[in-house]
């Protein structure tokens, strides 16, 4: 069952095309990885899906269920404490499950900074708070932009385990990242963006590894070959 569909989505900024006739489907209960080099259109696609950017043309069918989002730069109230941020956004989202909130706080190891203002948090803790807010309403579809940025190795491992369990519970997770390696074990579906176009869009088992040992190798090789093709002939 698809929880998100983009049909022929184009986004231009002035004369620059950030997304060029994108078609994309996200299925429930999958870990969907959106990867691409800098400037490939990942952030624009991410913002378009969340309704933060209007597509120039095309349609986005947003999921009917609950949506959660984690941002590359922590989107939190810096003047409020961690606890207050959770409380304010919980109320805004209508998230009332205190047990779930406590579980998130424990999983993301935020319990010891609950009374600290977000402005005083390290980059890693701010990121964890942002992730907690993304998950607060037990979303059916979770969008995460570079979720592992600033996290220490222990927190990364805990979070990846948690995301795996969350996916297995039937929720869709869409992760936008530059660093595919970290997510290799979780990825069910891979979408590679290059220069505003989708150049790879397939389930893991359908991917032609063609001698590559990992998703990372496959992705890098594909991007490099596209870059070589784009270079003007001498």
């Amino acid at each position: 069952m698809s929880v998100l569909e983009l049909r022929d989505v184009t986004k231009t900024y002035g004369g620059v095309t950030a997304l060029d006739s994108i078609d994309l489907t996200v299925e429930a209960g999958t870990f969907h990885c959106l990867v691409g080099p800098n400037g490939s259109g990942k952030t624009t696609l991410f913002r378009t899906v969340l309704g933060l950017t209007r597509p120039t043309s095309g349609s986005v069918s947003l999921p009917e269920g609950r949506v959660g989002c984690g941002f590359q730069r922590a989107n939190v109230y810096r003047e409020l404490t961690v606890g207050e941020n959770l409380s304010v956004f919980g109320e805004l989202m209508g998230a009332t499950d205190d047990e779930w909130r406590d579980e998130l706080v424990t999983t993301l190891r935020l319990d010891r900074v609950m009374d600290r203002t977000a402005a005083d948090l390290s980059g890693g803790f701010a990121k964890k708070l942002d992730l907690a807010l993304a998950l607060l309403d037990k979303p059916d579809v979770l969008f995460l932009d570079e979720p592992l940025g600033d996290l220490d190795d222990v927190s990364k491992t805990c979070l990846l385990d948690f995301l795996g369990e969350y996916r297995d519970a039937g929720n869709a997770i869409v992760v936008s990242t530059h660093h595919l390696t970290d997510f290799d074990s979780l990825v069910d579906h891979l979408t590679v963006l290059y220069d505003g176009d989708i150049v790879v869009d397939a389930d893991r088992q359908e991917l032609d590894f063609d001698g590559h040992d990992s998703l990372q190798e496959l992705y890098v090789d594909r991007v490099l070959s596209l870059e070589r093709a784009d270079e003007p002939e001498p």
Binding site: R47, L52, R54, N75
Partner: protein, 356 residues
């Protein structure tokens, strides 16, 4: 040398902030310099004054001569009825009413007594009105056959300059809050705007912010009330009408500053622009001095600005204890202006959504 390296860094930094620096160092100072054209004189040569006949026996020629004479030190306005002129005085449409007695051109008239009415709460006009009394007496005795005297009468509440400044400073604070603190708060909100926009709408975020900040304005109004009561001032602040006019003023100011912030993507430029707008409003609305004190140009500008009317209404209600009905047309105008600023705010939100 480290200093040279650091200076080079400053130059590089400046290149990245060239628009903001051009605005701050050239455009804004240029605007400040340009505003000096609006200050031509330091005495009230162009303050509007009502000329009104004492009764129906006053001749048209007599009124015309007085009007011509008064033009030397004021901007005379002819009124047919004293009640109309006094209403204009209370609304600060004029700052004095000169009542002309009958028979001033008649050779047989021995004594002619003019009445000069001024409002006791418009304190900055008290001293100039004494000068006007002397000038009228001198000029009319030179040009009229009768022995002319002028009776200066202060009507309404007699305020001190300290009392006069209470509603002025409070209005200044409302202005400061709307154009500096609110934009600062909105800029901080930008840190979390993406999440907010996913969970709710920009309209809701902005409406809540303005509503909350408007409610906060009750704080300074109460503080001004407490201090002025402690100092024994005769100023009315905590009435629905007075509170209402300050809150209404805050709402349209807040709508303007918020629109600027949204249209500039919550940037520093938006904050600079808001400060510039605040200074423009404060300088040109004749908030402290009566219009016509500095130049006819500045008078015309003040009469076009909503803050000018907000200030007169606030002063009328808090110092003169006048009924709100006296200002009904202006309050309706201010409500209309507020509506326009809210529409502009809504349009700026729509533009933000479209261009996101």
């Amino acid at each position: 040398m480290k200093v040279l390296s650091l200076l080079r860094k400053e130059v590089l930094w400046s290149r990245h902030r060239v628009v903001a620096l051009l605005f701050l160092l050239l455009v804004l100072p240029g605007c400040f310099a340009f505003t000096t054209v609006a200050f031509e004189t330091a005495v009230p040569e162009d303050a509007p004054i009502a000329i009104v006949p004492e009764n129906e026996n006053v001749s048209e020629d007599g009124l015309a001569i007085i009007e011509g004479g008064a033009a030397l030190f004021s901007d005379p306005k002819r009124y047919e009825e004293k009640s109309e002129a006094m209403r204009a005085l209370r609304r600060e449409s004029v700052y004095a009413v000169l009542e002309v007695p009958p028979g001033i051109l008649n050779e047989n008239t021995e004594n002619a007594t003019f009445s000069l009415y001024i409002d006791g709460s418009v304190v900055p006009f008290q001293e100039p009105s004494k000068a006007i009394e002397s000038i009228v007496t001198l000029r009319m005795n030179e040009n009229l056959p009768a022995n002319v005297s002028v009776e200066r009468q202060v009507v309404g509440n007699h305020s001190t300059f300290s009392e006069y400044l209470v509603p002025v400073f409070l209005m200044g604070f409302v202005l400061l809050f709307a154009f500096t603190y609110l934009p600062h708060h909105l800029a901080r909100e930008a840190d979390v705007l993406e999440r907010l926009l996913v969970e709710t709408s920009m309209d809701a975020v902005v409406a809540t912010k303005i509503l909350f900040m408007t409610a906060l304005m009750l704080g300074p109004i109460s503080a001004f009330y407490a201090v002025s009561t402690y100092l024994g001032y005769s100023v009315t602040l905590l009435t629905p009408a007075v509170v209402g006019i300050y809150l209404l003023t805050f709402v349209y100011m807040a709508a303007i500053s918020t629109s600027v912030m949204i249209l500039t993507d919550f940037s520093r430029l938006g904050r600079f622009l808001n400060v510039a707008i605040m200074l423009t409003f404060f300088t040109f609305s004749s908030v402290v001095h009566p219009v016509g004190f500095f130049s006819p140009l500045r008078k015309e500008i003040a009469r076009q600005l909503p803050l000018h009317y907000s200030m007169i209404v606030a002063r009328g209600l808090s110092l003169k204890e006048l009924g709100i009905g006296l200002f009904a047309d202006w309050i309706l105008g201010l409500l209309g202006f507020t509506l326009v600023t809210l529409v502009v705010l809504k349009l700026s939100i729509e533009r933000y959504k479209r261009t996101a």
